[in-house]
Symmetry: C2
Subunit: 564 residues, 2 copies
């Protein structure tokens, strides 16, 4: 059976990667790649940065590191790969191994034979099927054309108003881009938090708070009812509660895999709705491979199927597909849903499961949080990052890490991503020999501190209480004291406004211990957590029985707007 005629449908991340790698592996293969768009091999994840102006020339998103435009000519001259743009695949005849294609501009139809077929048709934005959805000024943000049009509109209308539908990472990146252009931005989200399903509530709340600082206000638990317009252009978004004026609407409410042609050919999709592939990236037809946003993946932590379309994964898929087509045994084990997102001065990211996901999956899990400095705290520009670790009870296996703050988030996410992939437990990580110098981390990196906090909790030395539980107790429980052990200055700057709050700076704790009622629940708090924990231990040592530390301290307190 010959495998020299390779047909690739879709020429962006996965498809372009697969074709390029096949060429390097097999100089004689006859490789054809088709794409319905005009632009191929473009950096889709870079689109928001063209809107913000960080990537001034949109063609930079199709340029190589050395400045060449990745167009059909580039693929032919450098790689000997034939590329047909503006060309749609209409159907697959699996028996005869023939794909019927349609040249969109001319309407002409043609057939292409293949020995091996690669499906990389990607995903399309989920539509919002309400009145006015076809008005001008309503965009997605998935193509070069989208980004170019939005960037032009923003440039021509300074001080405009935008409504972004969807609070996931594309929505947030779009909000940042428009915020940087001083547009007024409203975000509409059906769930009750940003990054729904991808971050725990209190981590997402940090981003929400930071967006507030940039005048971007999300509206939660809200549904779009219709779009209003004038002369065919959008002028507003009507929700189930309110109406927002809008010069621009960006729909970023998730994507759906483009499975049409595959399903028509009888290839199997999974429960997620995306195409099923095995570890070799083969569909239910072994001569047809698929990857990228079209397929579902195995989640490494749960072992279950999931649909998490990401550019990084698509590129890895492309390589595995090429290897297997060219006879190199190669497997793609799965994903951990790792992501990172820049939001003005903040970054936020996650790898593995969130606490909520772990619980929803029926795992017996617990979590600890620890904010800390990303560099030596005395080094200029050192910033705080807050980490939240999810651990499986019993096995002590890491299930996930979330990180948020102005500090270096990506480094800690990547360390955890590596540890999770290797099946690490908290015991194998406390002594991790990470890179230390004052411009890069504290002597004990904040990730190591977090592991130590987890070990303290497991040993029942550290008795945490979450912010959510604290808030509930302050409202409902009369026998509670919130002991804030920060300095007077820190306390005065911002503190929880409640008669149950008592401020005794840590260094006065021993001498003022008589002020603390022995018959109440004591919840110790500081800024980051260490002083609170120290206070908890001092009070326990002094005979107090019911003492807790508020996890993540005031830094991770989710209701900053209520502070006094």
């Amino acid at each position: 059976m010959s495998n020299t005629r390779i047909l690739v449908i879709g020429a962006v991340a996965c498809g372009a990667k697969a074709a390029s790698r096949i060429r390097r592996l097999n100089p004689c293969a006859e490789i054809t790649m088709i794409d319905q768009g005009k632009y191929i091999s473009y950096a889709g994840c870079g689109l928001p940065y063209h809107i913000s102006g960080k990537v001034r020339d949109i063609e930079d998103l199709v340029r190589t590191t050395y400045g060449k435009i990745r167009d059909s000519e580039y693929f032919m001259d450098l790689k000997g790969i034939r590329v047909l743009t503006g060309t749609r695949a209409e159907s697959i005849d699996r028996e005869s191994r023939i794909v019927t294609i349609n040249h969109i501009e001319t309407g002409m139809t043609e057939t292409l034979e293949y020995d091996r077929l690669v499906l990389a048709t990607g995903a399309s934005p989920a539509p919002i099927p309400v009145e006015g959805a076809d008005l001008e000024g309503i965009y997605n943000l998935t193509t070069m054309e989208d980004a170019a049009a939005i960037a032009e509109l923003v440039r021509d209308n300074p001080g405009g108003k935008a409504v972004i539908i969807g609070g996931g990472f594309i929505g947030v990146e779009a909000a940042e881009a428009l915020g940087m252009k001083r547009w007024e931005v409203t975000m509409l989200e059906r769930c009750d938090q940003l990054f729904p399903g991808a971050l725990d509530f209190e981590i997402a709340a940090m981003i929400q708070e930071h967006l507030f600082e940039h005048m971007i206000e999300p509206d939660f638990n809200t549904d779009v009812v219709r779009f209003t317009g004038e002369s065919g252009r959008v002028t507003g978004v009507v929700t189930d509660r309110k109406e927002y004026p809008a010069d621009l609407v960006i729909i970023a409410a998730g994507v759906r895999p483009n499975t049409g042609i595959a399903v028509d050919a009888g290839l199997k999709t999974g429960e997620t709705g995306a195409l099923i592939v095995n570890e070799r990236m083969q569909t239910s037809d072994p001569d047809i491979y698929a990857g990228g946003d079209l397929v579902e993946n195995t989640h490494i932590v749960t072992g279950k199927s999931c649909y998490v379309p990401l550019g990084s994964t698509a590129n890895k898929h492309g390589r595995v597909i090429a290897d297997n087509i060219c006879g190199i045994e190669s497997r793609f084990p799965g994903i951990q849903a790792t992501f990172v997102c820049k939001v003005f001065d903040y970054a936020v990211g996650s790898t593995g499961l969130t606490e909520k996901q772990a619980v929803d999956q029926g795992l017996d899990a617990w979590a600890v949080s620890a904010p800390g400095f990303d560099k030596a705290h005395y080094y200029p520009d050192s910033q705080i990052v807050a980490l939240k670790l999810i651990i499986e009870n019993g096995t002590d296996r890491l299930l996930g890490l979330q990180a948020v703050g102005k500090g270096d988030v990506a480094r800690r996410i990547d360390v955890a991503a590596t540890a999770i992939r290797m099946g690490a437990t908290i015991d194998s990580l406390a002594d991790l020999d990470l890179a230390y110098a004052p411009p890069f981390s504290q002597a004990l990196d904040v990730f190591i501190t977090l592991i130590n906090v987890a070990k303290n909790r497991r040993a029942q030395m550290f008795i945490p209480v979450t912010a959510l539980e604290t808030k509930r107790m302050l409202m409902e429980d009369d026998d509670v004291i919130l002991l804030d052990v920060r300095s007077k200055i820190e306390y005065r700057r911002a503190h929880i406004d409640d008669p149950k709050v008592l401020n005794i700076p840590l260094d006065e704790l021993n001498s003022r211990m008589s002020e603390i009622p022995g018959d109440k629940k004591i919840l110790c708090a500081c800024l980051l957590g260490l002083r609170g924990f120290t206070a908890q231990r001092i009070l326990q040592g002094a005979g107090f029985k019911d003492v807790y530390t508020i996890e993540g301290g005031m830094f991770l307190w989710p209701w900053k707007e209520e502070l006094e």
Copy 2:
């Protein structure tokens, strides 16, 4: 046997950490910590940054994150730990468990009983025992007093001349600090490269090149013969070849563990000269624990003892010591010699073994290098980092990673450090789900690209040749062509000046293949490596037999000053 009287000798990183943790574990313990210095619990690694002015107030190096000075009063008030500064431990009577101490100012002697003793006496700079070594203006850079005196001298003498003896990371950090203050700096190093023993030649050469750009010139293979002076102040350094004028000399030629009191008490030292401890950090006397710069460690990769004194390790030691003293089973498995160092706009770091170390240790190892962008290459401020990976032949286990460049070095070092600790092979890492967004990495992180390069090499698809070997061949071998496939503009900007060099941009390679002699060795080069590799594959596909790719491309070419 009681363990409530704890005596800690040495109150900086390991000692202070151990004492603080013991207090949190045991509110009743009687903890005494002594130190011969005035400052305790100071951030020794931050000293160079006081000289550069990045840490303006030197007391910031003894402040907590919330601004408290960590002095004797702080340890007493917050932790109930008694601290005696200006106090030297004279001797240990192990039988009676008594330490004799000496109050340096008064000369008074006293004895202290202990149940458990913690030795954290650190290390002292290796002296340079030549004429003039006692002149004023010759400093080490290990104490607060050193840093304060150097900072004052630098401030009072703008445009002065400094000689730094030692090209390791303290020497380089000192050079950066003085360079930032616009002093003229000369570095003297006995070996033939910077970071001797800690980085491979071509990685260290990148830092050397960057120091050149800041007018800092290292002088290699050189020994100090004597110091010259006037009126008791240093004025110059005489080496075996040359004389350098100097208003300031900083000796950073390594440190030696302060084992005196431990050896006198009969505790065992190892081949490295440092104190031996077991995994629980116990010395040969189970009631005496030791950690920090005083002790040797097990190298995780080789399993052998090594002496790598680092602040991060010292802090981990302190915690393990405290746990074991307080009855919590805790082990310190060892170190990987991970480090990172900022050098002006560059950073450089390493974890595990270098290629030279691996060879010296008798391991069967091979290496691959790959420079790549640290962010999406189209994102503003994206920078190149060059990575070098050391792999064990046969097992495919990661032995080490080095990284250098203007890009984010620490993140890739930390990922590799985690992978090495977990015993990863190259096969478990190509699909690592690392955090991706354009402001943080390429779709395939440069570390994943590096792993793929390693796999390509193992599959004998990628046939590398090192820069060193290339240079030798250009000089000695007539049957060699260096094929530079960069664009004409890139080539013109800087290229290797040799008649054997031929420039054919990659996109012209197919049409100009007849210019390449079929009977010669072809060494393909580009900037980063991918185009060179593509050219290698194209030429192999066209029937050329003897084709190689120059590893690391022109970016890692170590002799940049010879380029045309």
